[in-house]
């Protein structure tokens, strides 16, 4: 440009409009940010931050689902543990009764009465074996829609382990293999009968006095009680682990929210100041423009 460029009419009007347009654009953008509270309005505003924001959002949504799964898992484990504890208590009672009977000579009516109690315990164990949580039978493996323990002591479930996802890449098993408690676990076939049959034998041996049979069933009962203890212990450990996961999820979530806020949220104080500044700039530009578009020499010629 020349040192003193000529200012033509089109230049005057053109640049005045351009300048006003520019200031209005800035004011518009600042307004938009203040109203929406977001400084990240499109991907091109900050492509890298956009990806981080989207990933955080997915993670936050997933957290809700993980919590649901955790609650389900914890409830399932708790119910199973309760059932196993009750079963154990019943078996202890059965053991007491059988020790009494084997040590002392009781007469037949009292033996028959004890036999009846054993029968009650047997029925109770069957009912406990068919515990449900959220309409799922807890001891049946994958056969969750039908009772796993039949009235004559057969285990009708399968060996499925139900895994539940409680965090990224973290699948936890939540059930106990009912076969170890109610049936004969692998490797011990023939060594002892299933639990219900043990109690059945005990009942028989008391109803029609058979000392050897009683002793045998007492030995078998001990073995069965061991299985119950083992199962309960593993459950307890799993429950504690799930509590841990739950706390970790909670701690992580607030970090995600604040991360997202920093990336996409607009700083309200800065927005307010920007608004004020943009308003002032617009006012001044309009005033200055009106002075610039003032008369030319023509109006001073007579």
């Amino acid at each position: 440009m020349a040192i003193n460029p000529r200012i033509s009419e089109q230049y005057r009007y053109g640049t005045t409009l351009d300048r006003i347009g520019t200031v209005k654009n800035i004011a518009d953008d600042v307004n938009d940010t203040a109203i929406s509270g977001r400084k990240l309005k499109r991907i091109s505003d900050d492509p890298v931050a956009t990806i981080r924001v989207l990933r955080n959002r997915t993670r936050i949504t997933n957290l809700d689902q993980y919590r649901k799964s955790l609650d389900f898992g914890r409830g399932f484990l708790a119910k199973t543990e309760d059932a196993l504890t009750s079963i154990y208590d019943s078996l202890i009672r059965a053991k007491e009764l059988s020790i009494q009977q084997s040590n002392n000579i009781y007469d037949e009516p009292s033996r028959k009465a004890v036999a009846e109690e054993i029968r009650q315990i047997l029925n109770h164990v069957i009912i406990l074996g068919n515990t449900t949580y959220s309409d799922k039978y807890v001891f049946g493996g994958f056969q969750t829609t039908q009772p796993p323990v039949s009235p004559d002591g057969h285990y009708l479930g399968d060996d499925g382990y139900i895994f539940v996802q409680v965090d990224e890449d973290s699948f936890r098993p939540i059930n106990v293999n009912g076969r170890t408690v109610f049936d004969v676990p692998g490797g011990l076939e023939g060594k002892r009968p299933p639990l219900v049959n043990i109690l059945e034998n005990m009942y028989d041996s008391l109803f029609a006095w058979d000392r050897d049979k009683l002793h045998q069933s007492m030995v078998d009962l001990d073995a069965a009680m061991n299985s119950v203890v083992t199962a309960t212990a593993s459950l307890g450990a799993r429950r504690v682990a799930l509590e841990d996961v739950s706390e970790r999820l909670d701690r992580g979530e607030s970090q995600l929210h604040s991360d997202n806020n920093n990336l996409e949220g607009a700083d309200m104080v800065k927005s307010a100041l920007d608004l004020k500044r943009a308003e002032n700039a617009l006012n001044f530009t309009l005033q200055a423009s009106s002075k610039m578009l003032t008369p030319s020499l023509l109006e001073f010629l007579k």
């Binding site: 499109r42 949504t61 056969q143 399968d158 030319s296």
Partner: protein, 475 residues
């Protein structure tokens, strides 16, 4: 003869004539002060050839050499080149803004959001595979995911269709302008022949039209000695030569997926040259890039994403058994529509058999096991295992790469457009400072020529009085 009263009278009246021309031209400038593309015109006066008489050399007054427009050819050339860049980056920036708006971070129903809800519905299925309501929920989430693919695909196709429409309109526009430039070439040659002045107004008009053509398509401009302008277009094809004009044309669209080519017919002969890949700048260049590079690329990527995801999902799902009446049936695909007739993202849908009977969702690894969730757990793992791109990227990673490529392109183009706008505005200001009309200047000119008129008329009246004096010499 010089120094006669006649000579003085002649000089005075010629000067009057000149000053009238001056005011005329000034009036022309003033009335065109706001006409876009107008170059102010100046009267160039020069002294007439001096006359030798006796022992003296006498001046003979002034005459108009020419009326010339103030015009800087160099700046005009720069403007012509810059307008192509400016309109290309502006159009491209707007097109990319539209494309990226389908994936904005404040939307809640994008493909990515639906992936998340679909994944979580499968997690819930793992918890309760026996529950019909949970299965129905998973089907609904799956449908939602398919819908987001369908609508994203449709939106991208719409951008391409709109681009085609705009290209068509621009072709009509540019054909009109090319024809007008050819006509102006002819008129300038006729009017300019034998005249000393340039045909200023027609040349202004021609320059403006050429810039407008450059706004739309690539051009190169050549001027010859006869003030004729030759315009060569993309790949140096001839658009205007003398008063002959070529035409652009666009093929008709045959199918929904057909992207018609843009062709040039030189001087209306029946031969058509395919220019689609040679148009690189201007609005048409940008629209073609949006249509064939950015939108098409995005469309291909969305299709690959849909197909790749659905195929890996189906691969696992076919292993799963259903429940109840479907308890010993497996081998069902969950997603269908991947093999045509349309494109995968366009046609993807949840298999109708599964929609009809949710029991058919294969969550179990073995038959007749209602609580079995082994297959559904495997399906969940699909979403965060790196299975794509040579086992380096997860499914959402592929989506993220796609949109961040788009966002970065949009950002870069925005910056290019701003930079180009600044350069273009500066060039326009430079042109204005040379060719623009300033009312102050013209007001001064008015004064100048008016005084000249007054003074010249004074010369005439003085000569007139001298005449009277001479006539009065003899009574």
């Amino acid at each position: 003869m010089v120094a006669t009263l006649n000579h003085i009278l002649n000089m005075g009246s010629e000067s009057l004539q000149n000053s009238r021309v001056g005011v005329d031209v000034t009036g022309h400038n003033i009335s065109n002060a706001q006409t876009p593309g107008y170059s102010r015109q100046q009267v160039n006066l020069e002294t007439k050839w001096p006359i030798q008489y006796g022992m003296q050399i006498f001046g003979d007054g002034s005459r108009i050499q020419n009326i010339r427009r103030s015009h800087d050819k160099f700046i005009e050339g720069q403007l012509r080149r810059e307008v192509q860049v400016q309109s290309r980056t502006e159009t491209l920036s707007e097109g990319l803004k539209k494309l990226e708006s389908f994936f904005n971070p404040d939307l809640t129903s994008t493909i990515r959001d639906r992936f998340t809800s679909f994944t979580n519905s499968i997690r819930e299925l793992s918890n309760y595979p026996e529950e019909p309501s949970v299965r129905i929920n998973m089907i609904e989430s799956g449908k939602g995911l398919c819908q987001s693919f369908n609508s994203t695909h449709a939106n991208i196709v719409q951008v391409q269709t709109d681009a085609n429409e705009e290209i068509r309109q621009n072709i009509n526009l540019v054909n009109q302008k090319i024809a007008e430039v050819a006509k102006l070439n002819g008129q300038i040659r006729e009017m300019g022949a034998g005249n000393l002045s340039d045909v200023n107004d027609l040349e202004d008009r021609r320059d403006k039209l050429i810039k407008e053509i450059g706004n739309i398509v690539d051009i190169n401009v050549y001027k010859d000695n006869n003030d004729q302008i030759t315009i060569r277009g993309p790949a140096e094809c001839l658009l205007v030569e003398g008063n002959l004009a070529s035409r652009f044309m666009m093929e008709d669209t045959y199918t929904v997926n057909h992207m018609p080519n843009v062709v040039v017919s030189e001087f209306n002969k029946e031969r058509y040259f395919d220019m689609t890949h040679n148009i690189k700048t201007g609005k048409m260049g940008a629209l073609l890039q949006i249509r064939d590079k950015y939108a098409q690329g995005l469309r291909d990527e969305v299709n690959t994403l849909a197909k790749g995801f659905a195929e890996s999902f189906n691969e696992i799902h076919v292993k799963g058994y259903g429940i109840n009446d479907m308890r010993d049936i497996n081998g069902r695909d969950f997603f269908e529509g991947l093999d045509g007739p349309g494109e995968p993202a366009q046609d993807i849908e949840v298999s109708l058999g599964i929609v009809y009977n949710p029991n058919a969702i294969g969550a179990a690894m073995s038959t007749t096991s209602p609580g079995d969730n082994v297959v559904s757990n495997k399906l969940v793992k699909l979403f965060y295992e790196p299975l794509y791109d040579d086992n380096t990227t997860t499914i959402t990673g592929v989506y993220d790469k796609m949109i961040s490529k788009l966002g970065i392109a949009a950002l870069k183009t925005k910056e290019d457009a701003t930079a180009s706008q600044i350069i273009y505005d500066r060039l326009k200001a430079q042109r204005e400072s040379v060719a623009g009309v300033s009312l102050d200047d013209e007001a001064a000119n008015l004064l100048k020529y008016q005084h000249l008129f007054t003074a010249s008329s004074k010369v005439i009246t003085t000569a007139d009085e001298m005449y009277k004096t001479v006539l009065d010499l003899k009574r």
